[in-house]
Symmetry: C2
Subunit: 553 residues, 2 copies
Amino acid sequence: MSYFKKHGQLIEQAVEAIHDRGFYTPYPEHHKAYGEDGMSKGETQYHSHLGKRFDVLENSNDSAQWVGGEQSPYTDEALGVTYPSHNAETWVSRAQAVRKCWKKTSADDRAGLLAEALDRLQSRYFELAYATMHTTGQAFMMAFQASGPHSNDRALEALALAWHEQKRFPQAIAWEKPMGKSSLVLDKNYTAVPKGVGLVIGCSTFPVWNTVPGLFANLAAGNPVIVKPHPMAILPIAIVVATLRDVLRDSDLPEDIVQLAADTIEAPISKNLAEHPLVKLIDFTGGNAFGDYVESLSGKTVFTEKAGVNSVILDSVTDLDAVLQNLAFSLCLYSGQMCTAPQNFFIPEQGIREGEQLIPFDEVTQRFKQAVDNIVNNPKMGPGTLAAIQTPATLTRVQNYEQLGAKVLRIPEPVEQPGFKNARSISPAMLIVEANQSDIYSQELFGPIFFLVRTKDTTQSIELAASLASEKGALTCGAYTIDEKIEAHIRDAMEDAYTQVSFNLTGFIWINQAAGFSDFHVSGGNPAGNATFANPEYANKRFVWVQHRKLRS
Amino acid sequence: MSYFKKHGQLIEQAVEAIHDRGFYTPYPEHHKAYGEDGMSKGETQYHSHLGKRFDVLENSNDSAQWVGGEQSPYTDEALGVTYPSHNAETWVSRAQAVRKCWKKTSADDRAGLLAEALDRLQSRYFELAYATMHTTGQAFMMAFQASGPHSNDRALEALALAWHEQKRFPQAIAWEKPMGKSSLVLDKNYTAVPKGVGLVIGCSTFPVWNTVPGLFANLAAGNPVIVKPHPMAILPIAIVVATLRDVLRDSDLPEDIVQLAADTIEAPISKNLAEHPLVKLIDFTGGNAFGDYVESLSGKTVFTEKAGVNSVILDSVTDLDAVLQNLAFSLCLYSGQMCTAPQNFFIPEQGIREGEQLIPFDEVTQRFKQAVDNIVNNPKMGPGTLAAIQTPATLTRVQNYEQLGAKVLRIPEPVEQPGFKNARSISPAMLIVEANQSDIYSQELFGPIFFLVRTKDTTQSIELAASLASEKGALTCGAYTIDEKIEAHIRDAMEDAYTQVSFNLTGFIWINQAAGFSDFHVSGGNPAGNATFANPEYANKRFVWVQHRKLRS
């Protein structure tokens, strides 16, 4: 059957939504939309993978080694799932072998097939959620949304944009030039030719959400893809890759159009893959060192999302408690392990204006701490919001908070995760620093470490936030002001640092969130990354327009 | 007045033409459309510049040095025009100083202003033509078209595309998320933020046509531009820059939004400008060594058009004489100094099929030589088609044709250019090589040196043309076949090398030509360059989408 016939309308709707940028929700974000018994079935499906080979990814059984070292941040136990492993040459030559076949599949058929995979993934959201929870440390509900509907949103956005850009110019036209009495006709055609094998390198905290945009954009543009997941977060994206391979097989297309190249911490293969001359496209999410390396490779088209230092500028508010509750939740959510989470909160030394009143600096920081305590100490809310810490290194960094040399406002302490006595979980460290202590707060300290920075005034706060974003990168910036002039100043300064600003968020909307079809994720204009989910460039750079002309005789 | 009001309709038409890709001619290409006495007036205007300071480019008279070393390939005399010169820091800091002002000018106003400059340039086409002729060596008619209407086409295409891409997403929307009984509203806005100072480095053969796309795309996207022309071809683009500065001044905007940074062969400043940290965008046309260097600079957005080795594949024809006449003209036109001119002609050893007949290899090459002789020896056609050689180095290369070690088919000889007894002009060298002599023909030999390559068969011809394009780059490929299977094979193979193919051109259309609004110039997918006049990427990479969100209270 034609999957484009089935899903073409959805794809067209998505293209429209991308250009409208209003609220659009093709995949409902609430788990109840996906069935009553989904949760228990998903848990069973997740458990069925443990201690076994994830063997649907390999057709020929002879040559693969089986590797895997994932460990649950909740149980501290190995998942025991193993995945087929080969050297880079094998993965790349398999991809190269199916390149022409995928190139010849029409843009419509490719988009339809990818939308079908997203359709099928809806029935695996709960399985994905448990797999995500036990690799990243996310709480169940975040894992469900981030690896389920929100990932599907971003994947659909990327594939729809790539489809649209390929359809943007006519396939064929007659170019008729008047030549006095007669005319001259050239038949011209235009083909979006895919660039070649794509490599998509995933991260450990959002293994699906951060991987699917590049994966689906590449596939939609006709490039076969090798997914190289983070060695500690393989299972979630393996489920996505397996689903894509199911649809390819059902379409009588080679499954190797998408491959999962798992590796281990001990024997990494990312560089071997990235440097392979037949790998033409690289999507990368992760740390700056490897990101900068990938960007430096010549002859590759590279898309990166690296790390940044995100700021919040506090100037004036109408309701300080509402603001602090919102910020407290933002920093507690998944213990600051979101790339969009704020790290530095710039507060003027004279305090923050609330209506007519000036709330002194010390009171602001104390009430901020209290708002965080209220979440941490709320047994119904705390553990589920803080969730678990993905990697032991992050936990150690938080535990060593005193070594940073800052004044301590809030001491991080172990957090119990009900049902998981070995969970790696800790409450936020909140530290107070002076504006001139930039050696402390101007680096990204991944995880639940937060700085309240005492500045001379809001002008200095803006200066510091903007220069940090320009020099170290930033994905988000929060700002609270009821002064229009200051708002304009912040917009201008952060625009110069190519950083988006969220103003005056309170209630059920947080700076961490980025909505598919509406919010551009990463601007591409500062050191936090060179790519955007998803601007037109994100699609256009994955193929080359080649035209031919023929004289009509 | 609002120039957008005056030219908005033209810009919208151009956007439509870009997406239709049919024939579109906003600026008629025939010189008679621009007035009866244009030619003599233009010559007077050109002469008025000689031996003088081109002083309209400098506002402050105190600090500039005046430099210039242009020399006419027709008279072998110095033009004596000098241009203001500064160190890189001065040019860049001037550009940086006006950056914010240009950024704040709306996309509409910028596009309108640029279209006004194109409008005014129409009255300077003849002046541009003489300036181009006496710097590049082009014949008058080519100089008129290339630096006049065809440049205006490409400039309008670039500015219209950049304008369109900036208008593609809404400036502001309300994002309304249903939250049970109520809803949550974020006011979002989207701004195309220019990347910063742009540097556009020109070449010596097409100083206007190759410079204006990057120049106008950058300006349309809000980036101030420093034009760094080739030291031997400054005057033509100086006229364009002066015209742009006129319109800026008439709009009460700082003229330094576009600057001309002339230098000399002895004291080049391109690297100082390119490496300046505030230079964010670089457009380059020229040789591979410098192009590769520019592409290797980190932290810059780079657009290159470098050199390639263009091929023609000869398989089968309906009328061999018509084909050879067409090819002879293609290689004689401006003595092969167009980046789109073919260099290698692949001909099977058993010859070429013409209808039912097989024309032997030796006869094909002899008749090809004859077709070239017919142009060269035609006093009405020869000198005007061959024109002059831009640089003495090219002339020397042609004169040393024997050193290449190939069999000589046609000896290059001096050509008289009527009215210019000192003209640097020479007829084409045509050489015969075997397929395995790739060391001879696989490098770009800029200028009138052409190889007829004897291949085993058309399959080998295709292989060689495709691998040359992949490895050395190619801007164009010509092919002659009346066999549909072979045509499909050529399309496929050259698509894999990201190279456009022109099939079966005869009569008044040549492989060298690329029409604005319809033909993509350079694919960006092979070593001949990473950019395209003008695909969506060409505009999108010049700005960054930054969005802001604000909670509606």
